[in-house]
Subunit: 354 residues, 4 copies
Amino acid sequence: MSGFESSSSLPLRVAIVGGSGYAGGEFLRLALGHPHLNVTQVTSERSAGQPVSLVHPNLRGRTNLKFRKAADLEEADILVLALPHGSAAKRLSEFEGKARVIVDLSADFRLKDAEVYRSVYGEDHPTPDRLGQWVYGNPELHREELRGATRIACAGCFATSVILALYPLLKLGVLLPKDIIATGLVGSSAAGASASESSHHPERAGSLRVYKPVGHRHTAEAQQELPGRFPLHLTAISTPRVRGILTTVQAWIPDGYSDRDVWSAYREVYGQEPFIRIVKVARGVHRYPDPMLLDGTNYCDLGFEMDVDTGRVVLMSAIDNLVKGTAGHALQSLNIAHGWPETTGLEFAGLHPV
Amino acid sequence: MSGFESSSSLPLRVAIVGGSGYAGGEFLRLALGHPHLNVTQVTSERSAGQPVSLVHPNLRGRTNLKFRKAADLEEADILVLALPHGSAAKRLSEFEGKARVIVDLSADFRLKDAEVYRSVYGEDHPTPDRLGQWVYGNPELHREELRGATRIACAGCFATSVILALYPLLKLGVLLPKDIIATGLVGSSAAGASASESSHHPERAGSLRVYKPVGHRHTAEAQQELPGRFPLHLTAISTPRVRGILTTVQAWIPDGYSDRDVWSAYREVYGQEPFIRIVKVARGVHRYPDPMLLDGTNYCDLGFEMDVDTGRVVLMSAIDNLVKGTAGHALQSLNIAHGWPETTGLEFAGLHPV
Amino acid sequence: MSGFESSSSLPLRVAIVGGSGYAGGEFLRLALGHPHLNVTQVTSERSAGQPVSLVHPNLRGRTNLKFRKAADLEEADILVLALPHGSAAKRLSEFEGKARVIVDLSADFRLKDAEVYRSVYGEDHPTPDRLGQWVYGNPELHREELRGATRIACAGCFATSVILALYPLLKLGVLLPKDIIATGLVGSSAAGASASESSHHPERAGSLRVYKPVGHRHTAEAQQELPGRFPLHLTAISTPRVRGILTTVQAWIPDGYSDRDVWSAYREVYGQEPFIRIVKVARGVHRYPDPMLLDGTNYCDLGFEMDVDTGRVVLMSAIDNLVKGTAGHALQSLNIAHGWPETTGLEFAGLHPV
Amino acid sequence: MSGFESSSSLPLRVAIVGGSGYAGGEFLRLALGHPHLNVTQVTSERSAGQPVSLVHPNLRGRTNLKFRKAADLEEADILVLALPHGSAAKRLSEFEGKARVIVDLSADFRLKDAEVYRSVYGEDHPTPDRLGQWVYGNPELHREELRGATRIACAGCFATSVILALYPLLKLGVLLPKDIIATGLVGSSAAGASASESSHHPERAGSLRVYKPVGHRHTAEAQQELPGRFPLHLTAISTPRVRGILTTVQAWIPDGYSDRDVWSAYREVYGQEPFIRIVKVARGVHRYPDPMLLDGTNYCDLGFEMDVDTGRVVLMSAIDNLVKGTAGHALQSLNIAHGWPETTGLEFAGLHPV
């Protein structure tokens, strides 16, 4: 017995902690359109007392909620933590008293191994014994564990784009255990809502800027989730887009394999997935995945192309970093956890042109 | 008795004629999410036989429809015409045999006066006697006429942004009958889906280009719809955005009036409107209407500011040209015509940031 | 006798005060390519001790200068002040001891009338008796006064675009003394180099945002410089561009006048101007002025179109706000002041496409 | 004896064949500012008879040249061929009668080996015996051969960004002969001046689109020019920029080597290069190469970062595809060929911000 009444006529009360940032704001947008959720509280230290629509102007006319301080947090059914990395773990006991279900959008509970956490984040995890209790919030890989889950640590955005491109191929042995290189082109919203010199419009608008050539923290996340042992290398580049990640993954197919095997692997593993589309079209403008088409949607579009002479395969993966990379798969995970139809509240198809 | 069964369990069959363009594609996107509509046909001469998702890649996985030729059009309940200006009027009888309800997204049936039509479009109207049968598809001004309507001529996008900004103020006498100047900043999607030298990305991406300084055709439309007689002047400028229109309207307040009267007029006329928001915030980044926030939504955001020394008032109006300027108010009009809740299928709140 | 030796073999020493901002950086870029100028000092309180190329990365390999504090300023021949508005006037005596020639890029010395200054800037001018000593740094209007000038107050960027569009027409009586409305579409660099919430890339990249509907401070500047008395109204809108202003001016032609008179007026007044081009082409993509084509150049492109039915004329004016709107006309003014060929150091033609 | 009189008082006559495209237009812009060149003819079949400034609006007021047909080509000193790939080779004898020096901007004469040409371009080379007469127009690798050269085949833009990043490291043995992967982010101008569906602004403005995941033709060019034998893999992605290429190259350092060796190699090989800058800054916004800073310049900015745990090195390379990738190194090559100072006509420093 799961304890979740999916057919309950009363929607569940949601509190969003750290709701003035982009991740919290996006979860709020999605939750406001969800028939089984009722957002009752949104916290922000900086904006406490102000209408949330002042900070999230797309929600004008959609909600009368005002921000409150986290100290004023009251009980809820679900707590969504959208805090700076490190905060959720440090304040975990405080939050656990407030709701039965906690969804964390930060990196705090994604890694299972406290040693790995230390090597990646440079400090000891505050609650290492609790790491095992969290389900990694990637519905495609952890659907079964998510059913009835009460602790969900949502996957990182760049990690998600890498994991979803590679998972079926590694699982089914379609790739060599050879250096895999993922290059992510990332929009400016991934760096958050705080203004900085590097986000100043004149410095950023026309920029193509490598911001993490080596040492990206999501490497550990992706390696934890992907089957097998192989060297994985990530490079992240800023683009002039606001939303979206386009990741190209360079990998290697064993002798005797072809792009049919890539097709088969994707179909076998993702054939029933509601939010994964294989995009590989012979003609027209939109032949491969493109984040332009995904703003506001929970899709991950995947494509690939093979170089028959060398066995190199180029995988392509596109998501909206704030939806499928953050708030969207958080909601998809919650849908699974509560037994609701998985696409509930995530129906937006995306715009074209835009 | 209207003849519309709004509670019908069977959705109405919709055929979109000219569905490979941006207007038709946007109506298709909206209609696919509408509980009382079932899109059964989409025509395109150029793309006949191809899946609609090849041309509208945002609809991948959402529909299996293929384009057909207009010659193969079968019966439907509702015909949505998304043809180049001039085509709908010339082929009206052909279309009238196919469905009881016709919605035209072009300019063909917007003007009531055949003389005005000739002076604006430079040729005689093919069916001048029929002009009076069409309702101008602007829900805020023509809600009552739209109930039960079977011929709806949807308002032009720039015209809509001008009309909605001015209507309450002219109706309630808050403006002087003095030269009114509207300057529209328009995204590239307004020029349609056909590639041209001026839409070539390197020529357009960074451009701010006046494309219609004087003589804009929507002037006649706006003058037809707005109360009173006054000189109206339109200037249209291309911007690097894809969607959206931001219109500033320069007008003049009579002595003794103040911005309170503008507030009151907007509230009185638009107080119950589901898709009009008054945006005038004292602080923060988003103090006035901004099309950035409206991509994919059916909102018209209105704002204003007054220069007390001169009586000048600057009205600001933002819409998504493809939604509130085209397919959205078409659907809103259909909702009204059929007695469905007016916001059905138009619930998307918009994204921030984006 | 002017006291300037234009044929001097020794270049003049230039010190830029407040050189870490965009205006100072742009003047530095231009001055480094000028055969008669030698930039010997650049001050910045925040970046003192650092190479200027760290802040102005386009100058890597072009200069080894380091920022120093203003307190360490040594003697120079020319002082270019690129300080926040208000600072130059308050510290004038400090600067006057350092160089014979002072060019101010701020608004401090543009207005001649201390009363007007107070009403516009909300405080008393610190040195009202000195206002008369400064030449308004607009070469097209004040070329004669600029010869030999030692105090140059460079014109504001939006004001420049308005003044250059209107000056010949007002001077030669081609416009009615009726409400003139100027709408400026402005790039983000005009707001300076300091990051803020409103300049945060995700909030600004796709934005079309009215930031000054009424009450723009450049109104007073433009009215001071333009002949005759008429009501002038300015509205300023942010665009996604980084550089550039496109201004449309709506004005009125007397009965009996036509667009030939506009042509004639522009030709008569600007026929010999090296940096003004009349852009009005019958066909092609680039028929009117467009700031896209002007990045880095000192041009002001002017165009116009007339509505014969109403006598309305739409003037169009495009500049790079940091060049013709700031550093470029500062250098042009210095060239005139010293008797150097007026285009020296300002030869860049601009890029296409870009 | 070279036969070139670099001190000649008479500038050399230049004819640009195919001058209505972006490559030809950019060469024209640069040549107009060059003291030893006099552009006397520009051909365009489509625009014959029209002023060049109609097609290249940045050159308004800079030249009165009109396009002529190639059939009307008269003698010149230097012929610059800016034709679609394939045309120059087919019409070589026609052009050789017109001028002593020919610079080809296409791919026709870049490859030395006719077999390789066939495998890359899918057809036999029209004049295979002539391939050996052309110098590959990359000044950094072929400076000595360029002195006095009369046939210059300018390097491809993406190839240039790859070659310049790798050459010193491969030459000095700082890289393992292991799979090297280059990912190029390319602006829309690289696809030329002809409008197409994929260049239609609404389809391209927000796009991040892989357009050549495998099989890029520049692979052969880069392999021909780079020392040693190693597998080289190229992937090319469209970005919303108009100009510029940012290439990241993933490569591998032998055991015992470090990033100091990368520094040393770059310094040793490029220490005296006027147009190569190593950009690797510890702090600030602009820490690595960024094409944003290079519009209009002839620089290639290079950077790198090393992952000490894995021996992976990420090289970064930024150029303006139309300048250092096309017209700029063409002019630099001509400067070398004629013994003029190498930077002549290429002094523009680039803009910031922009």
